[in-house]
Symmetry: C2
DNA sequence: GTCTATAGAGTGATAGAC
DNA sequence: GTCTATCACTCTATAGAC
């Protein structure tokens, strides 16, 4: 074999250099977006520095600016990325054979979900809605996302109500708006005070909107917390910022 | 008359010194809170510096720290201040003689209001809810506010439904949660895309929750905007931060 | 395309005079 | 109680080496 240095697998920083530049570029972009999603969702956009995102992705801030131009660009790209994903509120694995009531239950369970990864993303989504109110550029992207989500939800709801012979509170498009509003509003209150929004209450509200005759609902099934449930969040790390 | 300097009405900075220190202290506190409300609501808490608040109140940042200890303390004091005020969502000037339907209309009008001062405060309220999700200290205050608001709303709703012989989707306390959720959710979507949430849609949703037989609802009364209504916000000042 | 290094600006908070 | 002055620190974004 010739004496030439055989090509190394990594450069001096351990970065894989075997693949094409295009592959590495896409990889870095994906890493940055994933890190940004995680950190922004956990701590809020303003509380996370560009350096922190880059570091979490195994890169430096320079890479962020090469890819997205600015922190704002990163936020917008992140919104765009998640567009094709599980963005719609009415996304839930429901069997078409289930009763409309249990399908609603599945939707709610999806929104109020165990509080895993979805809950964090939900928090970020809320923040972006807020940001959209003050930043037209963000507003455009969120509006587009929302319109797409609404179309999907409307079709879905149309099928359900037709099949169940329900008398919904509005036409499918309007009903999609109402259902989304109720779901996000309930999720918001539930984040603050879980006891205030028992599952059966949420289901009763949804049933009323879509026009299903709700069951009498025991309604006292869960104690209403309201006062200092106030879990001190043991183990939560100082909760103030992730900086470089 | 004696030759002594007569007491001046203001000191070298134009600050009134006739009143007692206690009065001036209260005045400064009120000024700071008013300025903070205005600026935080308009631009977001993180985008407004302590110096900017102090300057808008005709004081300096030192005064803020003397009164509230920290920026966070200012935010909390602001929440507390607004507690006794018009904080409840169901606050609306309605005549008891009005029909339940028109009372709901008044409530919605109050929430979706012309977009004046209330709309700005609403934005701040949203931000504080979001902040509460990450900061237990803020969460406590917001939770207390919310509980009080819910009690008030529940009593009010109880009266309405009883008088109208409606069949609400839940008991008064639960109904208060549902109505609040729908209202805030609709307000949120309306901020982003006003055309997506026509008044009659909101009213139909509310009627469904409280159990009033909603009118057939023309429902096509307003064009659904969805796409680029996107008013470029003429006259809005750069919208990025109010710093010192 | 990614890094290092740094400019340039701004922040929250504190000490001490008045 | 309020102000002035300043500390110690952080941020975003850019320039140039590799």
């Amino acid at each position: 074999m010739g004496p030439g240095r055989r090509p190394r697998d990594t450069d001096h920083r351990g970065v894989d250099v075997r693949r094409t530049q295009e592959e590495r570029k896409a990889d870095t972009r994906a890493r940055l977006l994933a890190a940004a999603t995680e950190l922004f969702a956990a701590h809020g956009v303003d509380a996370v520095s560009v350096d922190a995102v880059a570091e979490a992705a195994g890169r430096t801030s320079g890479a962020v600016y090469a890819h997205f131009g600015s922190k704002q660009g990163l936020v917008l790209a992140l919104l765009d990325e998640r567009k094709g994903s599980v963005l719609t509120v009415l996304q839930a694995e429901v069997a078409v054979t289930d009763s409309p009531a249990s399908q609603l239950a599945a939707v709610w369970a999806n929104v109020a979900g165990t509080g895993g990864e979805d809950a964090r993303w939900d928090l970020l989504e809320q923040e972006l809605w807020l940001r959209a109110a003050r930043d037209p550029e963000v507003a455009d992207v969120v509006r587009a996302r929302n319109a797409e989500s609404r179309r999907y939800s409307a079709r879905r709801l149309e099928g359900w109500t037709a099949a169940a012979g329900a008398r919904p509170a509005a036409d499918p498009d309007g009903l999609a708006v109402l259902v989304r509003a109720l779901l996000t509003g309930l999720a918001q209150q539930r984040r603050l005070d879980p006891g205030a929004v028992p599952d059966d209450l949420a289901l009763a509200g949804l049933a009323a909107l879509v026009g299903l005759a709700g069951p009498p609902a025991p309604s006292t099934a869960t104690t209403r917390t309201t006062t200092s449930t106030n879990r001190p969040r043991r183990g939560a790390p100082g909760h103030r910022a992730v900086r470089s």
